[in-house]
Subunit: 315 residues, 2 copies
Amino acid sequence: MTNVVITGGAGFLGARLARDLLAAGSLDVAGGGDRPLSQVTLLDRVPVPPDLAADPRRDALARADVVFHLAAAVSGEAEADFDLGIRANLHATEALLAACRAVGTSPVVVFSSSIAVFGGSPEHPLPAVVEDRTLPNPQTSYGIQKFIGEQLLADYTRKGFLRGRSIRLMTVSVRPGRPNAAASGFMSGIIREPLAGQRAACPVDPDTEVALASPARAIEALRCAATSPDDAWGGRTALTMPGLTVKVGDMVAALEQVAGPAVTSLIDWVPDPVVAGMVSGWAARFRLDRAARLGLAPDADFTSIIRKHLADTRT
Amino acid sequence: MTNVVITGGAGFLGARLARDLLAAGSLDVAGGGDRPLSQVTLLDRVPVPPDLAADPRRDALARADVVFHLAAAVSGEAEADFDLGIRANLHATEALLAACRAVGTSPVVVFSSSIAVFGGSPEHPLPAVVEDRTLPNPQTSYGIQKFIGEQLLADYTRKGFLRGRSIRLMTVSVRPGRPNAAASGFMSGIIREPLAGQRAACPVDPDTEVALASPARAIEALRCAATSPDDAWGGRTALTMPGLTVKVGDMVAALEQVAGPAVTSLIDWVPDPVVAGMVSGWAARFRLDRAARLGLAPDADFTSIIRKHLADTRT
């Protein structure tokens, strides 16, 4: 029997992952063989008490075969409130890893890192194409905190305290639900809001190139991280998941193709230099051999992403 | 007037740095102009209280123009005692950065990182030559903790909380004084102990290639980090200081040349697979353009390093 814990389980990805796992009914943890799911525990906004013995998460963790650590303050939040980012993205991750170590069962821990670890600075510009061995150079607190989480997970894994898998998620589009404080939020908002008959602001130029992945691809990457045998996973360094490279203008053209000009006319092009500056520093082109070897591929095109979003939200 | 704080000030490098600074009598902080030293505060093994307002370091930090953060648990200690490493290398660094932020004066903070951030794993072997943009892949807790410190310092700098400079120090040889728990300790021990008429064990093969720097070069690198103007320093990523690449057998040959065969006969070649394994994973060859631009160079040869050690210890 397989027990799963998902932190950030009330969030969009966590809830979708839980539903997908429950629908499948079984999980093959790190290539150890497919076993029925006995329990999926969702944790969210659980305060981290200094004394882990009193931690309500401890019972769930003690039985966990796989822990998906998705809980995080998003990029915009961590940038606006440095202390919140440190608390939610660094200290909470440390506390979770310490708790996973304390239970003594060396569970598989999937850490949701982010392509926000990549960035360019004047003296170290981002290469035109990001590869598996590209040096992360995070330019946001969120990216720094995720990169630190990767390092901690790698060392906990090396020490045998747990079996860590860091997976760098792409920006997810189209993300359902309400806008959040992520600087990448517009990549969903300019599709989701117009399709729902609402206006949406696009803060960047149509020529801006971005990389993104559908919710289904993000869940696939998380599951791949949990289920791959150690050898196939390929070591303790973080794996960058593939993304579809697309211009924002072409995203809107795809929306117009799928839903018509009345829908795209709801987009207001309102440049926001702060958001545009952040986005222009993000990696948009990738060559990811390690992900390809694991069978992970980007979405085929943005039109199919929109159609999947429509199918998901109609159900 | 310039105020300096040195954590780990009772250690070998900290004490030597303090003596050198006091002998010079002035310091040019980040290219702001040479000013007389008014105070050098040495901090060592100061407990980190949860309430920084009650911190005895706060007064010194409040007046500090430069903080050299040298305090650390060394590689062997951090590997043997994971919790000690996390406490001494991660949490103490976080607490120091938070304290530097809290004083509100944005001091220059020089963080002593280490070439231990570089490492090779089966899936990501270390490149033959490490360059400025080589991806760190630490294979020890010490290396992980130092690399995390670099990331925190970079983000504190980006946010304007302080002006951070991370400098990756080479293994220092010949380090005076007593042996410590660093896995690299033999690189000093096989020179220092025989010169003092004592036997020393060499745990690695004579063909093992290592990179090292004399104490004077390490102090020079720390001073360069403190004094370089922002533009010359070249960004928030860590700077790797240059090292002399030398085979352990050639170190011993140099010792024989300087001190004779009676001295080198005191070396016992006692292979230690654990130490040899760690050392073989370390970077030994470098091409460091950024350090060269700053005028930093490796020691000329190992013979001159031994002669400097003899001159230092005779005074």
